[in-house]
């Protein structure tokens, strides 16, 4: 599993593992639900717009074809749902007492992993944009780093972004403390 693959350093502890807010998945599921009902809408409009005597007979003669094609359509939607779940399940932000690790499953064969040390963190910004984001408490976190190759870490649809920001800042402060002594 993933935590065996992330090679933690000596005395490094995972403080929290964060996934996107449930609304991110819900939004995409609503779209899939609409896709599921789309062919049924087509059949219904066929029944409405074609004269009654013809339409039912035509549909009945092609019933196995319709069942097959609808089951095929549903299978595509199930696979789309599996892709949405994969994206949600495998995208994680892992905050440790030394660094932040970001794992982004872009597509099935495209996976991006990045991390930066808390000492290199310069600024953390939270962006909560919109009514839903405000009420459901999700938002975008931007972390500015001093890293040469990666200047900004950005994650969208994170739940409780203010809490995450506080946690990152606390972890960074704790990390800096021994040096200043």
């Amino acid at each position: 599993m993933i935590f065996e693959k992330i090679q933690l350093e000596a005395n490094e502890e995972i403080l929290s593992v964060i996934r996107r807010h449930w609304f991110y998945v819900f939004k995409q599921c609503v779209f899939i639900a609409l896709l599921v009902f789309l062919p049924l809408l087509g059949l219904l409009s066929f029944l409405v717009f074609v004269p009654q005597s013809n339409s039912v007979g035509v549909l009945a003669s092609y019933a196995p074809h319709i069942v097959f094609l609808y089951a095929f359509w549903l299978l595509i939607n199930v696979m789309l749902l599996a892709s949405i779940w994969t994206d949600y399940y495998l995208d994680i932000w892992c905050i440790t007492n030394r660094r932040i690790i970001k794992i982004d499953q872009v597509s099935l064969f495209n996976r991006e992993t990045g991390s930066f040390r808390l000492e290199r963190m310069q600024d953390v910004n939270v962006e909560i944009n919109g009514i839903l984001a405000t009420f459901l408490d999700y938002g975008t976190i931007h972390v500015q780093t001093a890293s040469a190759d990666l200047e900004e870490f950005k994650a969208t649809y994170l739940p409780r972004p203010q809490e995450i920001k506080s946690q990152i800042l606390k972890a960074a402060d704790d990390r800096m403390e021994p040096k200043s002594l």
């Binding site: 993933i2 074809h65 097959f68 089951a71 095929f72 599996a82 399940y89 495998l90 099935l108």
Partner: protein
Amino acid sequence: MPNADILFSTGLHGLFYMATLIYTLFTTFTAYHWFTYGSSKKTSTLSLGIYLFVSAPLFIAMAAALSFL
């Protein structure tokens, strides 16, 4: 018209085999990702179980519909 029906029926059979192949490959790759990069074995197993449980009736429906063609 009978020729068109035969063509349609053959096309659906082809679609069924193609769907089975794509589904098998997709499921294999997805399950691999869930079990390799997932954070919990229990969640990955449950996800795969639900996914297979939902897809199985669809394959049965497709196979049953083909037998009536």
